[in-house]
Symmetry: C2
Subunit: 213 residues, 2 copies
DNA sequence: TAGATTGTTAATCGATTAACAATC
DNA sequence: TAGATTGTTAATCGATTAACAATC
C-alpha cells in the first residue's frame, strides 16, 4: 500500500512509539478524542509537528474534531508493525537478559520471548518464567526448528560482533542490541541500539551544563 | 570558560559518547593519530560533521596531521564531565537495577554506585557486589548523609512519577530513567531516558520496512 | 618546501514552524 | 450555519555537506 511512498525520516520514526504509548494512556483514561494541540502539550512537541508526522503515513484525523484516540492508536500500532507477533530470542542471560525476559507488557504486545541462550554453564538450565536457558551450542538447531524474528543481544562486549555474525548466519535480520558496540551488519539487517553507557555520559554532560549555567 | 558560548545542540551532544568510546578503542589498539576522514568512516559519519562537532567545543586537531587520539579522547572525557566522580543511587533493585549495578566499566569511569533501594521486602537486605539493598524508607536519611549526584530510576511504571518527585525533593538533579514514562520535572533537573519498549517498537517498524522493500 | 588536513565560512539539504484553505 | 481543527503548502530555522584558506 505505502510501499512506494517516500521513506519516512528516522526522527519521525523515533517519535512513533512515544505517540503510541501516549495514546494507550489516553485510552486507559477514557479519553475519546484528542487534538494535535493538546497532544503536543502533553508530549512537549508542537501541533504542527504532530500533524506533519502523522500525515507522512496518512490522514487519521477529522477536520474540526481532532483525532479519535482509539483509531489513531490502532493506526500507529499498525504502522509500528505491532499487529503481528514477533518471536524473540535473548542471547546473554545475565541480569540484563533476565530483566528483558521479565519485562511486563511485552507478552501482551505480541513480543514473544521463545528462547534464552548463554555460554555460562552456571546459568544454562536456569528457568526464567517459562523459558529454560539453553547453551549457545543449541542455538543453531533451535533456529532451524523455530522461526525467530528478533535477537536481543546482551552478551559481553568482546564477543558482541562475533555473536551477531553467527546469529545473522542463522537468518535472523533484526537486533535489539545492548552491547556498547556499533555492530557491523549487512544492509538487510536492522539494528536498534540501547546503549546505557552512552546515555549515562549524555546525562553527566547535561548535569554539568546545568550546573554551569 | 565556555559557559557563555552558544548552547551545543542535542544531536551533537548525543554523538559525544560515541566519539569517546571510539577513541578509547583506538587508544587500546595503539593508534596514535586519526584524521576526521578515517574516524568518519569508522563511525558512519562524515569528516565535515566530525570537524563541525568538535569545533563547537574548541580546536583539538593539528592542521596537516589530524587528531592525537589520546589528546582528543581526554578532551572529550572532560567535555562529558567524566573527570570528576559521580555518586549514583539505584532505585528499583529488580533485574534491571542489578544489571546496572554490575555494569562493568562504570566503576573505572568514576560512576560510583553508592546505594540501592527497593520497596520489596524480599529484595531489601540483598547484597549486590559491595552494596546492600536498602528499603525506600532509608532513602531520605541516606541522602542527608551522602552526596548523591545521579539517580538511576528503575521502578515500576505506576510509581515512576511519584518516586521521581520524592527524589527531587531530596535535592537530586539528574535521572537516568528506565521507566517507560515521560517524567515531568522542574527546569533545573535533567533526565536521560532509556526506553527499551520504544527501542523495540522502533525495531519492529524498521524490520517491517525492510521486509516490504 | 610540498602535502595533508584542520578550522571555518558558505551552500545545501532537511526538519520544524507558521499559515490557511478545506471541511467536519 | 459557525466554530474548530485538520491536511497541506509555504516560510523559517537548524543541521549537514561542500569548499577552501590557514597552517602544521
Amino acid at each position: 500500500m505505502q510501499s512506494y511512498s517516500k521513506r519516512v525520516s528516522m526522527v519521525v520514526v523515533k517519535r512513533l512509539p512515544r505517540y503510541y504509548q501516549q495514546l494507550i494512556d489516553l485510552e486507559l483514561n477514557d479519553v475519546e478524542k484528542i487534538s494535535s494541540q493538546d497532544l503536543a502539550k502533553m508530549m512537549g512537541l508542537t501541533a504542527s509537528q504532530i500533524r506533519q508526522d502523522l500525515n507522512s503515513f496518512g490522514a487519521y484525523g477529522q477536520q474540526g474534531y481532532g483525532y479519535r484516540v482509539v483509531d489513531l492508536k490502532n493506526a500507529i500500532k499498525d504502522i509500528l508493525g505491532l499487529n503481528v507477533p514477533y518471536n524473540c530470542i535473548i542471547i546473554g542471560s545475565g541480569n540484563l537478559g533476565h530483566a528483558i525476559a521479565n519485562y511486563e507488557g511485552f507478552k501482551q504486545k505480541g513480543i514473544r520471548i521463545i528462547g534464552m541462550f548463554d555460554n555460562n554453564a552456571n546459568i544454562v538450565g536456569e528457568q526464567v518464567g517459562d523459558i529454560n536457558v539453553r547453551h549457545m551450542d543449541g542455538l543453531e538447531p533451535f533456529c532451524e526448528k523455530n522461526h525467530v524474528d528478533i535477537c536481543v543481544l546482551a552478551v559481553p562486549r568482546d564477543v558482541g560482533q562475533k555473536t551477531a555474525e553467527d546469529v545473522i548466519n542463522l537468518g535472523i535480520k533484526a537486533f535489539l542490541n545492548f552491547v556498547p558496540l556499533t555492530l557491523s551488519v549487512p544492509e538487510d539487517v536492522v539494528v536498534e541500539d540501547v546503549n546505557i553507557t552512552d546515555s549515562l555520559y549524555t546525562l553527566t554532560y547535561l548535569l554539568n551544563e546545568a550546573r554551569n549555567v
